[in-house]
Structures are given as C-alpha cells and as structure tokens.
C-alpha cells in the first residue's frame, strides 16, 4: 500500500512537472504586443507551436519580412508580356523589363513617358516641357534629311491593359493622349525587340503594356496627389476604388496636368533661328499670312507659353463570376493640347496639337480563352491653325486567344484578330487637306504560339502570325523563335530570332494633299504647286532581329541581365520627289503671265509650276547591333540601386543622301536641259508644260549618328526610415546628330539628374520635393525644339 502511495506521489509529481514544463513552453511571459523583434526571434519552436494563429500573425508582424523574400519580390518580379502568362522575369524568354507603381511613384517621374527613362534600352528626349519622344533601341531619324515625322518613334506598340493606344495617321503614340496617369498604373511591362508575332503590327522595336490598378479591397479606398512647381506646372490625380461582394470591383480616377514651355520662340528653318510666334504669323510663306497681333501673341499659337494641358477620366470594373470566368470593363475619356514637334512639312519646327477621345474596352477571360474588344472614338488636329490636319477617327480592335495546355508542359495558343482604324477629314475640309475623305486601315490576323519545356531546363517557343491588310495587298508573317536554357536556378541563357512589321499608316498610304503655294491664275497657273501622294503599294517596314540574352543571380540580392542584339530593317519609306513640271512660255522662260515674272520656288529658288512628291519605299536598310546590361542590386531592405546602359551602332546602307528640295533642284535642272535640247532641235521653244525629271541615283553607306551610341541610367531608392524615402535617378545619352530636310544640328551628350524626397507626415499623407533635371542643364534634347530646364515642385499625397 505504502509502495503504491509512493508510486502515486511519484507519478503525480512527474505529471505536475510535465504540466508545468508544457505551460512554460506554451505561455509567453508578457503581452504579445510588448515583444521586441529580438525577443520574438528568441522564442522557441515549442513555444510558438502552442500559440493561436491570431497571436502568430502579431508576432510575424513584429519579426518583419525576410530579406530573401524581399529580394525575390523586388528583383525578380512577375511579368506576363513575354509569354502572355505569368512568369518570373528571370525566366522571361525575351528582353523584358518591369516597372512597378512603387518604383514610378518613388522616382518622381511626372509622366508615363518620363518614367520609361528608368528602364534599359530607352532613348527618351524631352521635346518641350512635359512632351517626350520615346524610342526603344533607336532606329530613329531614318532616313536622315527628311520630315521630322521620321525622327519620331513609329514602331513601338503601346497598350493599356492590351488595348492599343496608337496613332495610325502618322504612326507612333501621342503620349499626351493617354487617358490614364501615374496614379492608375499597377506596373509597366516592356519587351525590347520585335514582338509582332505576339502583339501584331508596330511591335517592331518593342512593346509597352501599361497595366492598370484594380481594387481588391472591400473598404472604399481613395488616393489624391497634388504637385505644383515652376513653369506653372500643376499635376493633380485622384482615384477611388472599392470591391463589392468579392465579385465586383470598380475604380474611378481623374487627372489634370499642365506645364508651360521654357521659351515662347519657335525655330524657323528658312531663317536659321528661333523667332517669336507673332513674327511667324506675319512672315509665314506657306500658310496664310496673318496680321501681327499687338500683344505679341499669334493666330497659330494664341498661347505660346503652354507646353502641355490635358485631362483624363477613367472608370474600370471587374466582374469575377468565379475563378474561371471574369470580365474587365473600362471606359476612358481624355482631352489634350500640346505644343510639340511638327509632323507635317512646314517652315517651323513646332505645332499645336489637340486630341480628344473616348475609349471603351471589354476583356473576357473564360476558362482558358481571352477575348478583348475595344473601341476608341476621337478627334485630333495635328497642327491647329494650319489647314488639312484635322480628323475624326475611330479604332476598333477585336482579338481572341486560347491557351491549350497539354501535359502541363506544352502550351498551344491559337488566336484570331480583326483591327480597323478609320480617319476622316470630311468635316474639316478646307483648301488643303491631307486625306480628303474617309480612309480605312484594316486587317485580319491569325496567330499561333507554342511553348514547350523539356525537363524544366530547356524551353522552345515558336510563334507565327499571318496579317492580311486591305492595303498593301501582301500578307505579312511576323514570327518569333526562342530557345532558353536554364543552366541552374542562378543562370539562364536564351536566344531569339524574330521578325516584325509596322502597320500601314494613313500618311504613307492615303496622303492626298495639294499644297497651293502660288495662287490660282486661270490659264496661267493651276494653283497646284506641290502635290503630295500616298502609296497604297508601300511595303511595310520590317525588322529581323537576332538576340542572345543571359541572366544571372550571383547573389540573392543581385540580378544581372545582359542582351546582345543585331537587327536588320528593310522596306523603309519616306516622302520623295517624283517629278517636276515646268510651265514654259514663248520666250523660253517659265513665267507667270499675270505678273510677267518668272515663278520661283521660295526654297529651291528654281522656277517651276508644280512638283509631285509621294511616299516611296527606299533601297535603304538599317543594320543595328549592340549590347545592353542591367544590374539590379539591393543592400538590405532600405537601399536599392539599378544601373543600366546600352552601347550600340546603327549603319545605313544604300542611303539616298539628297533632301527632297535638293532632289527637286536636280530634277528641275534635268527638265530644263531636256527642254533646251528640244528647243535646239526643233527651233521653237515649247510653249506649255513639260515634266518628268531625272532623279539622281547615288546611294551611300553611312552611320546613323542620331541614335546615340551610348545611353542608360541609374536609379536609386533609399529608405532610411519608415517615414522618409529618397530617390535619385540619372539618365544619360551620348552626342547625336539630327539631320532634318532643312538643317542639321548636334544634340550634345547629356546627363540628367533627378531627385525626389518623400516624407510621411502620418499614415495617410506625405509631402514631397521633386527635382527633375535638378542641375538645370538647358541643352536642347530634340533637334530644333525647346531648350530644357530644371523643374522643381512640391507635392502632397493623401491616402484614405
């Protein structure tokens, strides 16, 4: 009995001991909220395993996120643009970059175009305050010595959530006409190099897809940003969003932006310098001369100080029926006016451009299919004050694709699309018009992409697309073949061979323009001095590219991306002199019978009656090779630096070096020689119109010095405390030479320094100081346009 009692005592003591032990393990010695981070990290597994999930969440908050995870999230972001499905950027088969909302906001960039300076491979020049020319890898100003239009980027496709925002009348994107602003952007994804097999025409130098924010919170969330600075710059953005029943969410946003120019003068080529706008009105030889306005303003430029003024409003909604079926619907409207580079053949370098549009976009993801329908209806005047460049337009886009996955490793993605853009100047007809009616560019496309991965290491992608246009009649077949090999988790190699083409553009295909430089005199002059014609047989600009890429993660906090590329571009086109027609009188001189004086062209100083110019394909080809490197580095959670640069060369073969005007001069001489020969042989001067003219045929090989041979940047974000964020960015390019048809200028090499300091006043608001081009480097960035200047502003951000 005694022994039993002893045993019971022993067992009880043991039980109490173990009970106490476990209590010690389970219990924490103080309130969870009072734990420091170090104390949390010292807690044992046994203690933690006894805690409720609720308490664990609180302790995890105190412990914070791991650096490894932070490195992975920041450096190796998810991206969809290269494969049309989500993958980490390290594994992306193409030259790909992502810029997140946080990076854009931290950088202080004032527009989408300026934000792209943070991405490798971009050549970005500020034309006038707030207006930018955006190029991927260059191939710009081809051919040199032609219209300013050919120095603009016409071969990069820009999309908002897959909806095209493209200017089909001249090619390229009018950045001011994008309805969304930085507050709306979730991230910007970019592919460098041809991607037409995935996205269709104009994805020649690259593709930019701007992905907008969607609401995931059931709480009404709102954000507002106001920024004011020198040049009377004002930027206001606001957005509200909410999710209902987890199935429907909406987002409503609006933006307004304005900034004045750094100067009010505009460059006049005939005078070789900048002149006040009032002077331009009075001496304009090619437009209707206007009386000088006493206050120094102008008919063409009533407000010459204004560089940019725009507003936009956006509504988007998602309806998630279930995980297999969801719809995204967005509606946007915008209105903009800028003074920026001119697109037509004028004697001044800048024009006032207005765009107003409304767009609607519906995307349906149903199981493995994605169908998108979008429609844009708008108005634009590319040169307000001048006749002939005002249009109504609409752009319709439909595409549907299916992602068929076989055995988890093979993706087969067939697709079909129909695109139509209509530009119409019927409502704005004057004596001179670019199109003289409604013109349409439309095409059908079929595409197929196959993506197969062997043993999770070796990946092959083949994508082809067939595009059939109303004009030109040829069918185009952009393609893309990719092989990538994952050496291990830290190194990946890839090779790309791809081809892409532009779409036709209205100006190239359908120009139907009579430039009446001499008044109509019945029986004497036709009044038709220069006839511009489009060419529906033009072959579309096509680029072939070979690329080798290498990505490495030598350490968890460093990601390196290297691209070697070579491209060959053909079917380049330009406005070319076709024939010269001379009116001859009995005395053997071209003469205006009304005045009794010979008719002289003010530019060529040659007598003429009329000249025919038209858009033509050139023998010219462009060959480009280069290397880009990008190093993304994080040091701890508070310091990030991104360094990138591109070195490249562009060679032009079979370049026709004479400008249109020089060609007209030569052709006029040949017409005269022909006429003199005829006079001598017949004994009578021919009285009437003779025409034709032999165009010189000398071709040469040159370097295209307009694309800078070296450009890149640096982006640094430093967060010394939870309240303070300091960002610095540098963008640089080497010297360039811009050759316009009337003059040549050197764009000096430039290093632009930017800085933003953001201080969080409390959880919901912050104030910031923003300096763009902080050392006030005033060098012109885009030939013959405005001087640059430092821009300094103060801003306030509110989040509720």
């Amino acid at each position: 009995m005694k022994k039993n009692i002893h045993n019971i005592k022993y067992i009880t003591t043991l039980c109490i001991f173990f009970l106490l032990q476990s209590t010690v393990f389970a219990q924490l010695d103080k309130n969870i909220a009072d734990y420091s981070r170090d104390e949390v990290l010292e807690l044992s597994y046994d203690q933690l395993l006894e805690l409720e999930l609720n308490d664990l969440l609180k302790l995890a908050e105190i412990a914070g996120v791991s650096l490894d995870e932070l490195y992975e999230i920041v450096l190796n972001k998810d991206v969809e643009i290269a494969s049309k499905s989500s993958e980490q950027i390290f594994q992306s088969p193409l030259s790909t970059s992502v810029l997140t909302s946080e990076e854009i906001i931290a950088s202080g960039a004032n527009s989408i175009a300026e934000a792209l300076r943070l991405i490798p491979g971009f050549i970005i020049r500020e034309k006038t305050n707030g207006n930018f020319d955006v190029q991927i890898r260059g191939n710009d100003n081809i051919p040199p010595g032609n219209l300013m239009l050919f120095s603009e980027n016409r071969s990069t496709l820009v999309m908002i959530d897959g909806r095209l925002v493209f200017n089909y009348v001249f090619g390229g994107t009018l950045w001011e006409s994008i309805p969304i602003s930085l507050i709306d952007i979730e991230r910007i994804e970019v592919v460098r190099g041809p991607a037409g097999a995935l996205y269709g025409p104009n994805a020649v130098n690259g593709v930019i897809n701007i992905i907008t924010k969607k609401s995931h919170s059931q709480k009404l969330q709102s954000q507002a940003i106001v920024e004011y600075g020198n040049f009377n710059s004002l930027k206001t953005e606001a957005a509200i969003s909410k999710s209902f029943n987890k199935k429907i969410n909406f987002r409503l946003s609006g933006n307004y932006q304005q900034i004045e120019r750094t100067q009010t003068d505009i460059y006049m080529w005939p005078l070789g310098g900048y002149r006040p706008v009032s002077f331009i009105d009075s001496v304009n030889p090619w437009n209707k001369p206007q009386p000088i306005k006493p206050n120094g303003s102008s008919v063409y430029f009533p407000n010459p100080e204004l560089a940019l003024q725009k507003y936009g409003a956006n509504l988007s909604t998602n309806f998630n029926l279930n995980k297999n079926i969801n719809f995204h619907l967005s509606a946007n409207l915008q209105n903009s006016e800028v003074i920026s580079s001119i697109i037509d053949d004028s004697f001044i370098s800048e024009s006032r451009r207005g765009v107003s549009s409304k767009a609607f976009d519906l995307t349906a993801n149903i199981y493995k299919s994605t169908t998108q329908f979008s429609y844009t209806d708008g108005w634009m005047n590319a040169s307000i004050g001048s006749d002939g460049f005002e249009f109504d337009y609409n752009i319709l886009q439909f595409k549907t694709e299916y992602d068929w996955v076989i055995l988890d490793k093979l993706h087969i993605q067939p697709g079909f699309g129909f695109d139509r853009s209509v530009y119409d100047d019927s409502n704005y007809l004057s004596s001179e018009n670019l199109l003289n009616g409604e013109k349409t560019i439309e095409y059908l496309s079929f595409n197929l992409r196959m993506d197969y991965t062997f043993f999770e290491k070796l990946r092959f992608i083949a994508a082809v697309r067939a595009e059939n246009y109303n004009n030109p009649s040829d069918t185009y077949f952009p393609f893309q073949f990719v092989a990538s090999y994952k050496i291990n988790d830290k190194n990946i190699l890839r090779a790309v061979q791809s081809r892409s083409n532009t779409s036709p553009f209205m100006v190239d295909m359908y120009t139907n323009f009579d430039w009446k430089r001499v008044p109509v005199i019945p029986g004497v002059t036709s009044g038709l001095n220069i006839r511009f014609d489009g060419n529906t047989d033009l072959k579309l600009i096509t680029m072939d590219m070979s690329e080798i890429g290498y990505r490495a993660k030598p350490f968890k906090n460093i990601q390196i991306d290297i691209e070697l590329f070579h491209s060959h571009t053909k079917n380049l086109s330009a406005l070319m002199a076709d024939s010269v027609h001379v009116l001859t009188a009995a005395n053997g001189l071209p003469i205006n019978l009304a005045t009794g004086k010979p008719i002289y062209d003010p530019i060529t100083q040659k007598p003429f009656d009329y000249i025919h110019v038209k858009y033509e394909n050139l023998d010219l080809t462009s060959e480009q090779y280069g290397i880009s490197a990008n190093i993304d580095f994080m040091f701890g959670e508070n310091f990030r630096i991104k360094l990138f640069g591109t070195w490249q060369k562009t060679k032009l073969s079979d370049y026709y070096a004479l400008t249109i005007d020089q060609t007209i001069g030569k052709m006029t001489e040949s017409v005269y020689a022909e006429w003199q020969k005829s006079w001598q042989s017949t004994g009578n001067p021919f009285n009437g119109v003779i025409g034709g003219g032999v165009r010189p045929s000398e071709l040469s090989n040159i370097e295209n010095n307009y694309t800078p041979s070296f450009y890149g940047g640096l982006f640094l974000i430093f967060t010394p405390s939870k309240k303070l964020t300091i960002s610095r960015s540098i963008y640089f390019y080497s010297q360039q030479e811009y050759v316009h048809k009337y003059a040549t200028t050197t764009i000096e090499s430039k290093v632009i320094f930017n800085m933003k300091i953001d201080y969080k006043i409390h959880k919901q608001s912050s104030i910031y100081f923003n300096a763009r081009n902080m050392f006030n480097d005033d060098e012109v960035e885009f030939g013959f346009l405005d001087k640059n200047a430092g821009k300094y502003s103060l801003g306030l951000t509110l989040n509720f």
Partner: protein, 168 residues
C-alpha cells in the same frame, strides 16, 4: 579598425540570416495552424499527412522541425520535396515557392479535382486559383485566403481561418 569592420559585416549577415529564418519559420507555423482549420474529405486518406514543396525553399527545413514535434489530423507529418510537377501525387498540402509561381497555371491544372490545399507566396495568385497566398501588406506578413478556391479543391475551411486572413 579591421576588427570593427569584421564585426560590422558579421553582425549584418547574422541579422540577415536571422530575418530569413524568421520569415520561413512563421510561414511554416502558419501552415501548421492551417491544418487545424482545413477539413480534407474522409475518402482522401494517405497514411501520413504529406506537405509537398515544389522545388527549393527554406520552408522545408522549418516544416521538418515542426514535423518532429507535432502531428496533423492525428497523422505523422511528412515533408516531401518535389523537383518535377509529374511526381507530385498524394499530398495534403502543396506549397509553391515564389520561384515556381510562374507555373501556377500548370500546377493548378495538375492538382485539379484533387483535395490538395495549394499555398503560394506571390502577389495575385489567389485570383489565379491558389487557396492561400502569403503576401506582404505594408511590410507585414499576411495571408490571402480564397474560400471558393478551397471549396473548388474539394476541401472545407473554418470561418475562423477565413476571418484571420485577407478574404478573397
């Protein structure tokens, strides 16, 4: 001076390692707690409670520590690493590290109609079908939870767990 520099470097890396471990540790602890709040169908009855990890992850080590100390649903916890998608079969939980998040479509296709709780750690994956997704909200470790996605996998979830997470 050199000593000081050395100490600074050691302290920096020591704090880095400690942080890395803490994060994986908490995720592993969360996963253990999820097992108490998720109900697998009786018909799905592997002899052990298997937590599968697709590819490399520091969480494997942390889950192994838990498996030595605890059981889940009265079964021994077995932590199994899978290098290829095809080899993933009878698991209760499938953890997709961030490095594999790009394959989410293929992974979900592979586990379709199987009572497997899919846990991920990359933004936006609950919208793509993940059941539970670890996310950072203003630097704090949280988890998104999708009740419909969990049901679609043939599992049941307690309301308590849904309330603790960010319901999607």
């Amino acid at each position: 001076m050199r000593k000081l520099k050395f100490i600074f470097v050691v302290l920096f890396f020591a704090s880095t390692i400690a942080k890395a471990q803490s994060n994986s540790m908490f995720k592993a602890l969360f996963i253990y707690n999820f097992t108490k709040n998720i109900e697998w169908p009786d018909s799905y009855n592997p002899s052990n409670f298997v937590i599968g990890i697709y590819g490399n992850s520091e969480i494997i080590e942390e889950l192994n520590k838990i498996s030595q100390r605890k059981k889940a649903n009265n079964k021994t916890i077995v932590v199994e690493k899978f290098n290829t998608l095809q080899t993933i079969s009878q698991v209760n939980i499938l953890y997709i590290p961030i490095t594999k998040s790009g394959q989410i479509k293929e992974i979900l296709n592979h586990v379709k109609n199987k009572p497997i709780l899919v846990i991920t750690e990359s933004p936006g994956l609950t919208q793509k079908g993940s059941c539970i997704n670890f996310v950072l909200v203003k630097g704090d470790q949280k988890f998104e939870i999708s009740k419909p996605n969990i049901y679609n996998q043939g599992l049941k979830v307690s309301d308590q767990l849904v309330e603790l997470g960010i319901s999607m």
